[in-house]
């Protein structure tokens, strides 16, 4: 007896699938997979732009361990990325919660739009504006500090303040994105839960920590992942604001890789740096997913 073919062996859509996937597969092969394999191969070569490469074995990887600047740059990248992450996740949540506290609609809409606007402006325009505002002698920021009686700060020229400037400018640009995602998360929490808690006599503080915060954990997790990846990849802000300096105090790993590759034309070593960066991203993502299993509550 023959059963109906659809019941045992689902009709495959191989041909259709191939047609639908071809544009993606082609662009993936040429512009993602080939360069990824390329990074692995290049990292074993001594390669500059003028002559084709010579095999260098593990030289480039050995250099990673002796390059003191690399460690410093990873340090400053991590410092800036973590603070930007924290500002986005914590301050973003605070502002989103405040925005959702019974403000008239049009006022809310106005705040939301003004917070979001820098996100759509190019990072190089944003950094150029702040280069004016953070100017040590003539900038508006130091003028305002002066009004409150504080000393001028050398925002872009001191190794303490330069990374802080990058942090401020990037957070200023990106926080609107986090606020908006938080608002969407807050609005998806069922009203009845909060109302029930009010009836039970729970105060605002208790309601936030017992209801809002746990139900918001998938949103928080999403923002942590997105902001981690984005903030480790910063390039434009330090490039335009401080050129990574003074020293390497505000240099990010992407900037360092860019300089080795297209400043020194040391393509092999730059590729080895690229591999370390990919590994960092993989490890960070893995850690985050591991954490999320433990404390993210899904409704």
């Amino acid at each position: 007896m023959t059963t109906k073919p659809t019941a045992t062996r689902p009709r495959g859509d191989g041909a259709a699938a191939l047609a639908f996937l071809t544009p993606s597969i082609l662009t993936f092969l040429v512009f993602v997979l080939a360069p990824t394999v390329g990074v692995l191969i290049l990292s074993f070569f001594d390669w500059n732009l003028l002559s084709d490469g010579t095999f260098a074995g593990l030289d480039n990887f050995q250099r990673l361990f002796t390059d003191e600047r690399l460690l410093g740059v990873y340090g400053s990248t991590t410092y800036m990325a973590l603070v930007i992450l924290a500002v986005n996740v914590v301050l973003g949540l605070l502002l989103a919660v405040l925005l959702e506290t019974g403000m008239p609609r049009w006022i809310r809409a106005f705040f939301r739009l003004s917070f979001l606007f820098p996100f759509v402006v190019s990072a190089s325009a944003v950094a150029l504006i702040w280069r004016f505002l953070l100017n040590k002698d003539l900038g508006l920021v130091n003028y305002l500090l002066g009004l409150t009686g504080l000393d001028r700060i050398d925002w872009l020229g001191s190794s303490t303040w330069a990374p802080i400037s990058v942090i401020m400018v990037n957070s200023w640009k990106t926080i609107g994105f986090s606020i908006l995602v938080y608002i969407a998360g807050l609005q998806s929490i069922p009203k009845q839960l909060r109302e029930a808690a009010i009836v039970d006599g729970a105060g605002a503080w208790t309601r936030f920590w017992r209801i809002t915060f746990p139900l918001l954990s998938p949103t928080i997790f999403f923002l942590v992942v997105i902001n981690t990846i984005n903030s480790f990849q910063i390039f434009a802000e330090p490039r335009v604001l401080t050129q990574g300096g003074p020293g390497d105090s505000s240099r990010t790993i992407v900037e360092y890789l860019y300089d080795r590759a297209f400043g020194d034309f040391d393509l092999g070593y730059a590729s080895a740096i690229g591999i370390t960066f990919a590994l960092v991203l993989v490890v960070l993502t893995a850690i985050q997913f591991w954490f999320s299993r433990r404390w993210t509550h899904y409704q």
Partner: protein
């Protein structure tokens, strides 16, 4: 519930409002400052402290000087061509691939999808060096193609649209199938029309990303004429020592105003797009 308006509540309301106003001023003031600076007749006026809107010699002359110093409209056009083409191409490749992953049955689907998701962790910054070599081997460096092709494949886009397609009810497609519609017809006439908001989300995020990108044009393009706006602004500002600051401010303002207009016109879409990007994953 009506009698709960105590002094504490009022104070909390006022404090909330004050914090939000301070944040909104901190975010918008720099833009107002640069717009005002673009109208300054002299560097001294641009840097006048405290800044005032009133001035003896407000001028529109800086805008003309921008186009004298750099091929500004060329930058602008290049940026539109690159971001627009990447966005359209990405919407096509991502939606078709997402449909295959969401609805079609074929061998190797799981592996292929895992590869797509895995590639999320290899951003363009990692592969930029070989990408440059690939482009120069096929003779595309120093052309806008070098900025378009690397952006077309998007694992994020495929993932986003797949999630959305999977949430659409099957019945609609079954009806089309019974009517004898081909797979492509079903995709183009049933799935796509139902996916406006998701496609808008991806389109807006994609356009914004490539409109703002600084790294790829810096690496790929050497002719000034072929640069995009973000690099163009840096080139303009590179003349900090020689040019007037008002001209630089005018260049920045000219880059921001069109974005501001589109932003206000499409605010509802943009706000919804970004707000929902977190809910869809």
């Amino acid at each position: 519930m009506t009698s709960r308006l105590t002094v504490g509540h009022v104070a909390a309301r006022v404090l909330t409002f004050v914090i939000l106003v301070v944040a909104a001023v901190a975010i918008t003031a720099p833009f107002l400052w640069i717009f005002r600076g673009a109208l300054s007749g002299s560097d001294a006026e641009l840097y006048r402290l405290p800044p005032t809107f009133h001035a003896e010699n407000l001028t529109l002359g800086n805008f003309g000087k921008v186009t004298e110093q750099v091929p500004y409209f060329r930058f602008f056009l290049n940026s539109i061509i690159v971001s627009g083409t990447v966005t359209i191409a990405q919407l096509i490749t991502c939606s078709t691939a997402a449909y295959a992953f969401a609805r079609l049955r074929f061998r190797g689907k799981g592996v292929l999808f895992a590869v797509v998701i895995g590639s999320l962790m290899i951003p363009i910054q990692v592969t930029i060096v070989p990408l440059f070599l690939v482009m120069s081997k096929i003779g595309m460096t120093n052309s806008l193609w070098a900025l378009i092709f690397p952006g077309i494949f998007s694992a994020f886009g495929i993932f986003l649209l797949r999630q959305h397609f999977m949430a659409l009810p099957y019945e609609l497609e079954e009806a089309a199938k019974i009517d004898g519609a081909s797979r492509f017809h079903t995709f183009a006439r049933v799935i796509i029309p139902l996916s406006g908001p998701s496609i808008a989300t991806l389109g807006i995020l994609c356009f914004t990303y490539w409109w703002n990108d600084l790294l790829l044009p810096l690496v790929m393009i050497s002719d000034t004429e072929k640069q995009t706006l973000p690099v163009g602004l840096v080139l303009l500002a590179g003349r900090f020592s020689t040019g007037s600051l008002g001209t630089i401010a005018a260049g920045i303002a000219m880059a921001i105003v069109p974005v501001l207009i589109v932003f206000i016109a499409a605010q509802r879409y943009i706000v919804q797009s970004i707000a929902s990007s977190g809910l869809k994953l």
